[in-house]
């Protein structure tokens, strides 16, 4: 293997959000990865993609497939998260009413990512941006 892909996600781009996760899913299927693991990566990837579209000023999703491990990184350029522990709490969300009406903003995205990944690291600095690294063991 040894394969990587990068996707840009624009702020506010709800309609095409989901595209990167779909492409990642297809690629992993081509690589012959088990459907159970693909599902977990796809769910975590989609939550990350939606967070970039909804909460960030824009960012990137980076996929890295190596023998034994898939790594998914989400990196954005702001606004950052003031209290990461709070953001990681199930049900906590700053999503607007209009976003909630679309069925987002349940405050379960970050917990869903952590639960689906084998490794989960988040670092965030207000005014700088948020970085999330998820790993999935094969």
């Amino acid at each position: 293997m040894g394969y990587n892909m990068t996707f840009d996600v624009e702020s506010g781009d709800f309609a095409t959000a989901g595209q990167a996760s779909r492409k990642i899913k297809k690629k992993l299927q081509d690589l012959g990865i088990s459907s159970k693991i693909i599902r977990r990566i796809a769910i975590a990837g989609y939550e990350g993609e939606m967070n970039l579209a909804i909460h960030s000023d824009g960012g990137q999703i980076l996929l890295d497939a190596e023998p034994g491990v898939i790594t998914l990184r989400l990196e954005d350029t702001g606004p950052g998260i003031g209290n990461v522990d709070l953001a990681m709490t199930e049900g906590w969300s700053t999503a607007s009413d209009s976003v909630r009406e679309m069925g987002f903003g349940a405050g379960m995205g970050l917990p869903n990512m952590r639960n689906n990944a084998d490794g989960f690291e988040i670092t965030s600095r207000p005014g700088v941006g948020t970085k999330i690294k998820m790993t999935f063991d094969l």
Partner: protein, 111 residues
């Protein structure tokens, strides 16, 4: 029951027949909070949701659902239908409400 068999029932209208297949409806799931649905719905399910925007297609594809069922004839956005057709996700509309849909699916033996 297979997805294409649902078209035999007049109360269910498929809005994108070209997406139909003989994929089995393995189970059902109801929910409108997308994160919740993604975290909990099983592959092969028929998903009952009142959400009609294009992101429901992404959720259905990622979870590998068999179809989406929209209750109470809620109006679907054109973009959603186009995307669902592209991705091979059948969408049905019905006058039944979410509870009635589930009760009906249950009566057909879908658990």
């Amino acid at each position: 029951m297979k997805v294409n068999e649902l078209t035999q029932y007049p109360e269910f209208t498929c809005v994108n027949e070209s997406a139909l297949s003989d994929k089995e409806i393995e189970c059902g799931y109801v929910g409108d909070l997308l994160s919740w649905v993604m975290g909990n719905a099983d592959a092969g399910c028929a998903w009952v949701t009142i959400q009609t925007h294009v992101n429901i297609v992404a959720v259905a594809v990622l979870v590998e659902m068999s179809c989406i069922i929209i209750p109470e004839l809620a109006e679907l956005e054109e973009e959603t239908v186009v995307k669902a057709t592209e991705e091979g996700i059948p969408i049905f509309q019905t006058p039944k409400n979410a509870f009635e849909i589930c009760a009906w699916l249950g009566a057909q033996g879908i658990k």
